[in-house]
Symmetry: C2
Subunit: 210 residues, 2 copies
């Protein structure tokens, strides 16, 4: 890559990041080019479309999110760890208004950083929670991430309601847990066998209402 090309690439990336943060990911690409001091042609050569640009910008966030996943693998409560990680993912995506919507829109190959790589990072966290018997075994990380993106989008459109994301995510986290109670439908292998991990909460109670 020629030196001037590299220089322009870097400037565009940095400028795009700032523009996305300030104006959202739907900011006119011409603005980004202008602020970077290059023509639109240059921008489009380096980044064929808006998705490529978003993917490149988000790639840096993915770095951090992946580290966070590794860190959380050592946390005590596997489900809490998973929940924390999902919230982190949300936080990072929410930095760039509109990004989550784009993630939902784009195909897997189109934004690999936002989709494939994120899945790799989260898979082990989900797996651990499932092994502990705390989370439904028939649950895919891809679904969970799609759900998270959906929640971020919903929250973005309701900026006046600050607590929205938190409330919805809490609902979801409750929903992914294995249910100790019976309502006829036998899903999952019941409340774990063995596993010294804190399955105590699952073992306790029952009987409640209903």
């Amino acid at each position: 890559m020629r030196a001037d090309a590299q220089r322009n690439y870097d400037r565009l990336l940095e400028e795009a990041k700032q523009a996305f943060i300030v104006h959202g990911t739907e900011v006119p690409l011409e603005d980004i080019a202008r602020h970077a001091g290059v023509g639109v042609g240059t921008l489009y050569r380096h980044f064929p479309d808006r998705y490529a640009l978003m993917n490149a910008v988000f790639e840096q966030e993915v770095e951090q999110i992946t580290e966070e996943a590794l860190r959380l693998l050592n946390a005590e409560d596997p489900t809490q760890a998973l929940a924390s990680w999902l919230r982190a993912v949300a936080l990072h995506s929410a930095m760039y208004r509109g990004l989550s919507a784009a993630i939902m829109e784009a195909s897997d190959q189109r934004m690999p950083a936002c989709k494939t790589r994120l899945r790799d990072a989260g898979g082990s966290l989900l797996w651990r929670a499932q092994q502990a018997g705390e989370v439904k075994p028939d649950l895919a990380i891809a679904d969970l991430l799609k759900l998270t993106s959906a929640l971020v989008v919903a929250a973005e459109k309701n900026q006046e309601d600050r607590g929205l994301f938190g409330r919805l995510m809490a609902l979801v986290i409750d929903g992914i847990r294995t249910r100790p109670d019976a309502d006829g439908t036998p899903h999952g292998p019941g409340p774990a066998t063995s596993a010294e991990h804190g399955t105590a909460q699952a073992a306790a109670k029952s009987a409640g209402a209903r």
Copy 2:
């Protein structure tokens, strides 16, 4: 309203409905106008923007959804009834690709049919499930509808994955249920019955939930 104006209004509405179903709600408004045999000016006079058009189209669906809610109020299982209703809402919104995204985007006054009216219809179903102690008492119908829209959007972007919506919604339904487990907070009035509509406690509760 002048007769020709009424005629054009009706034609536009019908044409918009068809176009939305076939091409999604992001179809160019000029196409709708052309197919309806009028100029764009006429379209914009009757419907100031795309939202107005979508709202008008969806108003008819809301009619049916409301009836469905009333019907389900007599169903045996209150939670199942609520779940069924939410799925019905999803089904109706999904008829018009892009509508759910618009619903999330638009303010309450902008698409009253899709927001306010839907809330009225679903409120009682949620309330019943909460009274039965089956659903978390601190849950607002508005949140639940936002979540449903978010799920529909996610499903629309993943049309190849037919089961996605069903899986995610199942998760959510599990998440809104009261958890019999103990963490000290004794929530929910048990299997309780009693309580007529419109009591003071009901008013207080619904006020708090909104």
